[in-house]
Symmetry: D2
Subunit: 457 residues, 4 copies
């Protein structure tokens, strides 16, 4: 997944602390590593990266003191490329022309071919990320102006990229022509921001200006904001449905749609598509199913209860996976309330089933507390195909819904009943035209022309 954030002040205000705070708001998009890069007083690029959560990887007080009015940041999620710090972003480079830094959310589907091509021309790659090809493509056009080199490079890329870059003294944002991942522009007084999600703009007190359009490069420089199109023809758009279903924070707005409202609507659709008249109460899988469960409860007039208590310190307090801890299982993190569940028929709403193991453990735990029946309702269609555009899904054979039909899966997880919504329900709840939503992980219909030929420079 990953989250990106950038800030630029034409008036010379310090912006690096805001980038830190923006990353903090985007922490749910990546917990493996975090980094920032900025234009230093010498006009070159400095950067700091570290492992783990933002506050472990970076030092807020130190960043707050840095004199810079142009900076970007990144939180890293994916294990693609491995967890070495060399793969943390932003990546930086100094070419013969200029200094560069890039923070990338998404996944390039033709990175492998471009890398081979460049290595045969002498390029030395230092990371295992697909992002590094962008820097080398630019460096291998040493006689072009930087923006021309960028545009030329972007036209060669296939797949998903939302980018925040520093080029020379400017902040540059770019979004692939297919619009896979979100990217939005904000403003507070004279400071411009770019962010993966609106919730980070809210945190720094900025208002939303507009989204970066699919296929658009936006440049923030001395003279303000400028826009250039990426000259690539596209047939349709592929906005990621999973951002609405699970990934984005509920307080964000994507393509003009409130994520909270979409999730609640998904719950309502689910209540219509898969009612459960025998239920005494509805509850959400903590924390991923809560909002859809509220929608389900509302539409079906079933009482909503918080049936499982999550240890507030899970995630803060690291628990070693010792023998004893494995034996205790999910109880370490979650404790169902016997007094609420005992003797009841329970509807449990969750956003999706990936491997099925979490769902199975939860049902078994709820039944152990005395629930009579457990009915599972999923607020998205079955995930049957891997994502090549930036979400870290397992291979097909690991996807529960690809290995089993509905009845088998129902038995596997131990539910008294199991139901999903349909793709049509999903697209209706999102409220965007169906030609703009990517549903590849449900349908297997990927973007055409993803794996491209060798670039010519």
């Amino acid at each position: 997944m990953c989250g990106i954030f950038g800030a630029y002040s034409p008036m010379g205000k310090k912006v690096l602390e805001d980038v830190y705070l923006g990353l903090y708001a985007l922490q749910h998009r990546g917990q493996e590593a975090a980094g920032v890069a900025w234009v230093n007083p010498q006009g070159r690029i400095s950067s700091i990266k570290g492992s783990g959560l933002v506050h472990l990887a970076l030092n807020q007080a130190e960043l707050a003191a840095v004199e810079t009015s142009c900076a970007i940041g990144h939180v890293r999620y994916s294990t693609a490329g491995g967890s070495e710090l060399a793969n943390a972003q932003p990546l930086t480079a100094s070419t013969s022309k200029t200094s560069l830094a890039v923070a990338h959310n998404g996944n390039l589907t033709n990175a492998g071919g471009i890398k081979l091509f460049l290595e045969n021309r002498g390029a030395i790659f230092h990371s295992a990320t697909d992002t590094e090809v962008i820097l080398h493509l630019m460096a291998h056009q040493p006689h072009k102006e930087s923006l021309d080199a960028l545009l030329d490079s972007l036209t060669r890329l296939r797949g998903a990229y939302s980018l925040a870059m520093v080029i020379g003294q400017d902040l540059v944002a770019a979004r692939d022509p297919w619009g896979f991942r979100p990217l939005v522009i904000g403003k507070r007084d004279d400071v411009f921001y770019v962010s993966s999600e609106t919730c980070a703009l809210n945190l720094v007190g900025a208002s939303v200006v507009r989204e970066v359009e699919p296929g658009e490069v936006v440049i923030f420089g001395r003279k303000g904001m400028d826009s250039i199109p990426i000259p690539v023809d596209v047939k349709r758009r592929y906005g990621c449905a999973f951002e609405f279903v699970y990934f984005a924070r509920p307080d964000s707005v994507i393509s003009g749609r409130s994520v909270y409202e979409v999730r609640k609507e998904l719950g309502r659709k689910l209540a219509d598509r898969a009612p459960c008249p025998e239920a005494h109460l509805a509850t959400g899988m903590p924390d991923s199913g809560t909002i859809a469960a509220l929608g389900y409860a509302e539409k079906s007039a079933t009482p909503y209860e918080q049936t499982v208590v999550r240890n507030r310190y899970v995630g803060r307090t690291f628990i070693e996976p010792t023998q004893r801890v494995r034996e205790l299982g999910v109880r370490i993190k979650l404790n169902p309330i016997t007094e609420v569940l005992s003797g009841k028929n329970v509807v449990v709403v969750d956003d999706s089933i990936v491997r099925g193991t979490t769902c199975q453990r939860m049902i078994s735990m709820i039944k152990a507390c005395g629930a009579s029946q457990v009915h599972v309702r999923i607020s998205s269609p079955p995930v049957r195909f891997p994502c090549y555009y930036g979400i870290d899904t397992p291979t097909r054979v690991e996807l529960a819904a690809a290995r089993m039909n509905l009845r088998q899966l129902e038995r596997e997880v131990g539910a008294d009943s199991l139901s999903y919504i349909t793709e049509e329900d999903l697209i209706e709840a999102i409220g965007l035209p169906c030609g703009e939503v990517c549903t590849a992980c449900f349908s297997g219909q990927y973007m055409e022309g993803g794996e491209d030929n060798e670039p010519e420079l």
Copy 2:
């Protein structure tokens, strides 16, 4: 506050990892320091203590490897005694008779006088905690058997104490005759546990045996479990109402009453006591008001909504209180969802108002998102008096409800209306006889005879 946990296996099983996990489940009762003490293979007592959350203070893998079948642990909350590590518990001592360790939840009201008395007999105190007087009282009776020395010492104490102790090779639990703080016994196979709350017994897979009774000392030794009464006459009990209102985890059961159910009932009482017909939706102050808000919504048939998103990483990611962060205020942690709140009359339920500042900031933030009216409903009576029995309340002049009447406080926090439940509502919702519940912080009626005379040894 503080939380305590102990484990004992007469069959010689290793128990220290369970103490670690128990403390982890009790983390909400104290985040300042954590510690454990155990009987080592030489039959003496070892201990490890550290600052901060359990996983920072202690090393799970290291503890899991320790050969001990008798151990106790403590998480420290209070700032009484200061935050120095010397004040972290368990406190340990070796007297001429035996080895001792003690973990204490509560606050002794006559510790000052006892300390003076002992210093005049040569005692050297090493911590600023009231707990240390227990050790010195025992050491100053060198010719008595340990349990006799303990009983004699406990009869001299006034105020609140739930104790988990190691005395020699045994685990000992004790609870003051007034029953201020909870303390419960659990069992899994042959292992006995004592814990501040049942949620920690759930986590280690133990079932609840019973509570330690007010005025009871329970000894776990080679021959199993034994019980001795503390010979002190009491007129009534003082079970802490705030454990139900706010302090305990909702998945715990205290005095046979589910905390979740009590909180939901408090919400229902609140809906009866202070209805709000003009409200479009009800919501809880995150996270302290959520359960009572569900009860309020249910009883008043008002739709329940999650209107504010808490950053999942608050508490994990430390944010420096820089100028910029102060300027951004509560937005750093909480983001209200404009799309849900805009143009609505909102009922906000919270558990209590202490200083009033948090409440004021939340109302102002919700109104900034476009809410038309904000009605505040509190699921406990006004807190007008400080607690001397282990809860870290501010002095009277800082307590908002002690400084102002209801209308003034309503204006101060900026609410369109503000209502509380009554003491009677509270006691009804808890469901215990009113002669067993401490309501000193609401009524100012403290236990009699708290500050006692010098002990004679």
Copy 3:
């Protein structure tokens, strides 16, 4: 061993950084732990202690900023009492009368009996050090003035103690009536210092005033320096010979005698006592034998060479004792120079032989470099008895010279010849009356009345 240092400014100058620097100069006396204690602005005592070398245990910059004009410090060597941080010094206590801190160099021979006596009166000991009995003895006389309580306590002690203490607002130095360990007073401008050795006074720019006399308590307070005798009769003095032979730094002066000059004189005596006409060169065991080797070379007119190079970073760079490292042995630290040693008859001078293993390894290594003969000369008499007065010698059975006669030991270490000086040589070289030098480790003649009866308070 251990080293102690104290500083006091009647004019209110900050002195804690000087204590840090003094400890740094005394680092050779103890590397296991270091600590400082001082009078804080509230008139009470603060202290910081840590494991390892001074710069790891303490933070110079932090100490330099502390407002205090009365402070003491300690570097810990001994493993008596174990290496736990609880045993690091200074030890502190607050009694009903005053605040105390104590730093101790030496070893009390009757600490065990006193400890039992005090525990039977209710005392709780927190460390395994003999030093703690001093604090409890004082606390158990709560109605006496502090200095009276100190004097009374000191008269009950047997064995070796050089003390730097904080009592209330004053710095107090004390030295046992037998004069086992050195203790010296210095002054720079208006600041008074006490130190185990003069080299630490040199480092802080102070000049030497005089030694603290055996059996003297010196108080540094508002009105300057005052002196009180400890009312104990003694028959003779026991100044430690090993301070001159090995322990003290060569740039220190003890009892008016330059340690460097004594060591060189020991080498000259050794040349007379055990000449080696066939030698081509003389060298010192690095680094303990260097100065005596210079004296030996001078007196015997043998060329002096540095034959072994010690890795400059030994001690700074920690080497794990892996299989490979054990296989490489002493070569890890020391490299003999083949070009200098090959074909030569070599005299190797060292200060003493304890277990004999180091000596054996060195000889074997030197012979491996081609030396024809290796003649070992020791600049002290054979060590045949353990020290009970503060030097960490092994038990008798581990002492090579106690287990073997000279010829056996010569064979054991692989020397072509092995010789020592005599006790008479030693005392002559030191230059003090023989009734003032302790030679117990050579002769087994310990101080009389070391293990005393129970104290009466």
Copy 4:
């Protein structure tokens, strides 16, 4: 400066711990950073680098466990390139052909031009070291075999380089055609080593095979050891005289000459060139002048004394440069022994004078201890020119001997007399033909053709 070390076992023995130990023996050549690189079980290159001394930068136990039979290491001294970790070595790269790692001792004089040339062909440089050009030169010849690409690259380099490299699965050593820096081959059983100095071979128990010849590339692979010449014509050699005077460890042998013997001979030459009949004693500046002082004392029949004691823990215990520490000056580290110096005429021998400040401080300190006269004798000619071949000398204006004539410098440092040896003395003492020794820092006669033209690939 820097030190390099490599190890290769054709039989598959683990060698990385030996590289760690080799670096430890070479620690005197660089304390700023350390790193290792090795062939991992996947046949690619792994590397670990860190700041500071070897044991801080690297983890011996971890390295000892690594399965690899081909590894190199580096200790970094120079501040050229800045102290950022990005500049620590070995540098690694994976090209289209193979994996590379390089550790470099020396300084390339034409690196700037090559870097510009490569950046104009798309290369992205990641460090500020001159070493990185070697990797990019190789990567820009993607169609050549690796060794051919290496040889081609080396012919383009000017200046000093001793290299230990991993190329594919092989260990490769190379030394520039001018022979500036040492590089030697060792062997223990079947394991081959390359090292900057013989002392590191001694430590790992290896015997010296021979030096890598100037202009030679040596390859250690499956089939043993192979050698290829670098096709560059040279007129003469430039073996660094300062390795003998100061830089190398005294237990090393360079070009067949014992460094210890050379230093002692330098002292003897100095006694002949600059006698001092009025001296009572000779001493060395600790620790750089000790061996030459022994030679001086021997030749001039002046008694040798250790007059200054260096705190054994200097370098281990970090001292903050606070106001107080600056006031105390060199006394923090060094303490002269008044008893030895008082009233004496002293000859102080040192290896060189760079800025003159250390010398001045030492003389002033010795005089403060009562020395009557201080005569300074330097065991090398005056350093008047900066070094461009890997020694970190200051610019000319900072070099004391470039700014002042002998009499001025004598006055500046406060000596009663000051003398040097001549270049002829130096070359005679080293014992190599004068056409093989670089004396550029004394004479200003640098190698011809250092700054070269752009390479053509």
